[in-house]
Structures are given as structure tokens and as C-alpha cells.
Amino acid sequence: MFKSFHKSQAAALTLMVLALLLLWYAGALWLNSDQLINGYERRNIDWNFSQLVADAYSMKRPMLPTPDQIGAELYKSIFDTAVDSKRSLVYHSAITLSSTLLGFLMGGLLGIVLAIGIVHNRTLERSLMPWVITSQTIPILAIAPMIIVVLGALNFTGLVPKAIISMYLSFFPVTIGMVKGLRAPDKLHMELLATYSAKPGEFFWKLRWPTALPYLFASLKIAIAASLVGAIVAELPTGAQGGLGARLLSGSYYGQTVQIWAALVVAAVLGAVLVALVGMMERKINRRMGIAA
């Protein structure tokens, strides 16, 4: 039974991906043909459909590049280019990845510290919690360029300003999840520890923290995705300095659509891999905590 379900899931997914690819090629033809037909008519060239199709799928700056064009660009900029070259996507990914991870680390720590404070102090809970929630209704990404410029004016450039934006985006899910998690211990367990006359530190390390771990990892998955988005957007205003965001912006300035799409694909893969990595750690922890995955 499980096997047949698995099979049908794979079948459904394959079919869906195939359908999407088909749509993509049709869309590329549709979007690119306008420009091509205009060009033919201007130069008074006779054209037929097969020629149009061939041209639409091999334009240098298409409105929508085909997946194989993107694949070729990916191959070129990942494997055929030296890793330290400015044209290498590995180089740009490394820049983005480092600020993502630094921001994720800082955001995770800040989130945990805030949650511990909120759980242990009612005044902090009352005064801070509403603002933690409000902070997320503010489109912080919009002020990313300002933070970068201001910190740049302070001679504070490079990794840290970008990481601060990632941190702001990623602390919130961690705080919310950890507040829930640190409050999750069973009342019976708490009372048991109280009868053992446990100290506050023991309450924390022996009960609250282990109980909160599954919640922590669920939040970390959201946080790392948000962190990546923060890093990429933070790279937009820094222009030529590198990173996937800078790659997107320069691609958009020079109309290099294939380059934009290649950077997007890399960003997507990076996001999926990061989330999957945290998910793997989560499963490991959950198994140790005795929670069936």
C-alpha cells in the first residue's frame, strides 16, 4: 500500500513537472515571438513558423529563456568558470551563503535569548511580545538599502550589514516557536522536578530546553529561508560587490535575462538545500527525543 502511494506521488510530481516544462516552452515561444516578428518585418524577411520557433529558443536576450538555455548558462558559470572569477555563480553564491549563515546564527541566538526572557519574566512578556509581533508587520526588507548605506557611511561594510538584515528576518520565527516550546513541558514533569527541589537552571536544562528542541527546529527551517531572502535583497543596493542579489541587479540593468534566471535557479536550489539540511537535523533530534518523524 505504501509503495503504491509512493509510486503515484512520484508519478504525479513527474507529470506536473513535465506539464510545467511544456508550459514554459510554449510561454517562451509566445513571449519571445512578438519581438522576433517585429524584427522580421522591419528587415523585410520572409519567415515561417519553424524558423520562428528556432529563433525564439536561441535568442541572446529573450523575454523568457528556455530551460535548456538556463541550464547551459548554469553549466557555463558554475563549471566552466574559475571559482574566484566574478562571472562564477559559485563565487556569488559563497558571498550570499556566508551572510545568510551569519545572519541565521545571530537571528537564531537573538530569538532564543528573547524567548528565554519572555518565558521567565512576565513584564518582558507583556512589554516585548506585542512588539516582536508588530516588528514583522513592518516590511523591513524595504529598509535594507538604508541599513547598508548607513552602516557603509560608518565604514562598516561587507558581511555584517547584510547579516543584520538576515538576522532581523530570522529572529521572529525562532522567538515565537521557542516561547511555545519553552512553555510546552508537561505540568506533571514540572511538578516532579519541583518535588526533587530542582534549581531554576536544572528546570531549564533538564526539562524546558529538551522539550523546546523540536519547536526550535521547526522554527529554524522558516528562519533559514527568511535569512536567505534577507541576504539576497540586502545585496541589491550594494551593486557590484557580488552576491546573488548583485547578480540579479546587474542582469536586470544589462537585460541579461539568462543571467537573471540562472541566479534565480541557484538561489532556489540554495534555499531548498538549506531548508533540507535543517530538516535533516530536525529529524535526527526528533528521533533522539523519541518523536516519530
Partner: protein, 332 residues
Amino acid sequence: MTSAMTVNTQSAPVGRLVLIAAGAAALLLSLWITGGEPGAYNRQPIWLVLIPLMLLGGWFAMEQLTALGDRLESKAAVRAVNLAVPTLFAVLLLVLWQLICTGFAVPSVLLPAPGTIGITFFSELETLAKDFAQTWLKAVLAGWLIGCGSGFVVALLIDRSPFLQKGLMPIGNIMSSIPIVGIAPIMVMWFGFDWQSKAAVVVIMTFFPMLVNTLAGLHASDNLHLNLLHTYAGNRRQTLWYVQLPAALPFIFNALKINSTLALIGAIVAEFFGTPIVGMGFRISTEVGRMNMDMVWATILVAALAGSISYGLLALLERKLTFWHPSTRAAG
């Protein structure tokens, strides 16, 4: 604030109250000292001692209010306290910000004082309103409505088809982990510089959260309720209307709330890639270029207000529509 504190006198220790009063006095005195020529702290650093006093007083005031909130019976009073504590916290932060900016004469390129930002906000209200109309009323609202609407409709359509769900759900989940906002330059290329391209980014950003959440919500209905409808010979439409949709409402509102923030982010970021000479993203990027920071902060204030108010309105609507749900009832 003061009246709330006087109610509190019977039970609060006198020492605390003295500290609170001293903190309030320190706050007013500090504001008065720094109110004159900027740089008061640079000239007379001795006045810095008032700041810890102010913070300590503020902390004790919040502590007393919290304790008061836990003791009170009347719901309205508890709500007032729940509002007062975070407000006091915010006021303290703002005052601290103001004191540091004016007291140390921080250049406004680095960080303008909240007072300056407020003045800019009111004096440039017309420009800000135009930007708001361009970005929020056109791009965000249109994109949010289309994105959420289509996500909802697609979820309803594939709810009964396990095959389509198995194909679409993994894609929807992957979409949640990738930075969709990167699609902005492409949309600007396709739909031009005006608000349509921003709305397109917003549609794509909001579609998947809505789809995934609605689907999860449609599956969250109680089996007992579904069986009950079955014994009533309820048809597909009735099951959807009376059981599935009400059970899905909390999920749907969750997506609507997430999307309200996402939409604003998407529209503003998309404006960094090209826009007519109006719009919040345009304003931020050009004023940053001119080092005109109080205008940037005023725009951010507009964005923050728009984000918080739309989130708040959605939360209010949710409470009205899901009054029966345990999570709403527990919140009181």
C-alpha cells in the same frame, strides 16, 4: 498613565513608586536638557546619569502595571493594561532614541531623531500620500487580491483531486523555501515600469502561501462533522460551505496575514528595479542616494503603519469570523 499608577498605590511598595516617579522626572528633565542646542551630552556628560534612572523607573512602572493586569477582574481594565505596558515600552525606546540623537548631536545622515522624522512625516504628507497610493493602493492591493484569490480558487479546485495535490503540494512547499522576490527584475521586464509589474510580483509571492494554507485548512475539518453532513445527505457544495470552509478559516486568515506583509515587501523591492518617479520603493532608494534620511524614515513609517494596520484589520476580521474557534476563545 499617571491615573493607572495611582490606582496601584495600595499594594505597591513605596520605594518602587518613588523610583517610578524619579524615572518620570528624569525623563522630562533629560528631554528638557537635550531640547536646546544639540550635543548637550557632549558638553555635560554628567546628565547621562539620568538615563539609567529613567530606564529603571520605566521598568518598575511596567512591572507594576503587569502585576496590576494579573490582579484585575474586569476585562476592559485588563485590556487597557495590556495596551499600556507595550506602549510604555515603545515610549521609553523612542525617548531613548531621541535623547541619544540630540544629546550626542548624531548627524541626521546616520540616524535622524524621532522628532525630526515626525516633523518630516507631517510636512511631506502630500508626497508620502502619492507614494502610498502608487505602491499600496495600486500594486499591493491588486496583487494581494489576485494572488490570494487565485490561490484560494486553485486550492478549492484541487481539493478533490488527490492526484493534482500530490503533484502541486511538493512544488508549493519548495516555493516557500526559495526567495521568490528575486523574480522582480523579470516582472519589471515583462510588465513595464508601472504598478502592474509590482502587482505581478505580489501575485506570485502571495499565491503559494494561500494555496498551501487553504489546502491544509480544507483537510482540517473534523471527521465527525463530515460524517454528520454525510448522514444528512449533504452534497459536495454543502459540505464545503458548512464544514470545510469554516474549519479552514483560521488557516486562510493565517495566509492572508502572512501575505499582507509579503505583498508590501514584494511591491517595494520590485520598485528598486525600475519604477515611474513615484512610489515608496522609489522614494526610499532615491532619498538614500541623496542622503536625505528623515524622508527615508518617514517613508518607512508609512510602510510600518500600512503593514501594521492591515495586519490588525485582518486579525480583527478573523476574530469576528472565527469567534467559535478555540484559539480565539482562549484569547478572550
